[in-house]
């Protein structure tokens, strides 16, 4: 199994607070992704990264920012959390040469914003 660790696994916070989710990989792969999963929507891409300090927006990026200062870590930040951002968040990576094809996923972070 690909070594992908998401932290925290569960978090409850209040509206307006900042939240940072961490994704750590041990594979040294170039491409990393953040998705959110909501009933009736499947998985939607928030942001992705194609290398250290190289990131780009996905289809639902509003209200989120990301950073990648090291190959192994990809951080997702909600600057001021809103209830609409209550969701399950998944990090994913692609194997080399596969381009934009998420292949291995972390176990998710369940985020509740009250």
């Amino acid at each position: 199994d690909a070594g992908i660790t998401q932290s925290p696994r569960h978090k409850v916070t209040e509206t307006g607070t900042p939240v940072t989710l961490r994704c750590h990989q041990t594979e040294n792969h170039r491409y990393m992704y953040w998705y959110r999963q909501d009933p009736g929507h499947g998985l939607r891409l928030i942001h992705y990264s194609y290398g250290v300090k190289d990131t780009d927006k996905g289809e639902v990026s509003d209200g989120y920012s990301v950073s990648r200062s090291k190959t192994e870590d990809f951080l997702l930040t909600l600057e001021s959390a809103t209830s609409s951002q209550t969701s399950v968040y998944f990090c994913a990576i692609s194997e080399p040469g596969q381009g934009f094809q998420p292949q291995h996923f972390g176990d998710g972070t369940r985020l509740s914003i009250l």
């Binding site: 998985l43 939607r44 381009g99 094809q101």
Partner: protein
């Protein structure tokens, strides 16, 4: 842009019966197609993918899918399901340039003893 439609949100099936999970896509360009499985409280796992070549693709856990370009479909099949196949299944599509990747909304497969 591409999109993918999973026609059934829930599929109940008895153990050892065959199952087909339907997936249709829309695209004006050539595509790659994927099926993923998600077990409860876990991330997604890649079941199989179609990139080129044979239209019948075999994956893990006895699943297979057939790419039908004329019907723009990529249905997932298994001839005999087990209780352990109970999970959420996602179809996905990407363009061959590797610039876009979209998931369907998922099909919840429940295997009944």
């Amino acid at each position: 842009a591409q999109s993918v439609t999973q026609l059934d949100s829930q599929v109940p099936v008895f153990e050892e019966a065959p199952v087909e999970l339907r997936c249709n896509y829309s695209s004006s360009v050539s595509v790659y197609l994927f099926w993923y499985v998600q077990y409860p409280n876990q991330g997604l796992q890649l079941l199989l993918k179609y990139l080129s070549g044979s239209t019948l693709v075999k994956g893990i856990n006895g699943f297979e899918a057939e790419f039908n370009k004329s019907q723009t479909s990529f249905h997932l099949r298994k001839p005999s399901v087990h209780i352990s196949d109970t999970a959420e299944y996602f179809c996905a599509v990407s363009d061959t340039a590797g610039n876009q990747f979209y998931f369907g909304t998922g099909t919840s497969l429940t295997v009944i003893p």
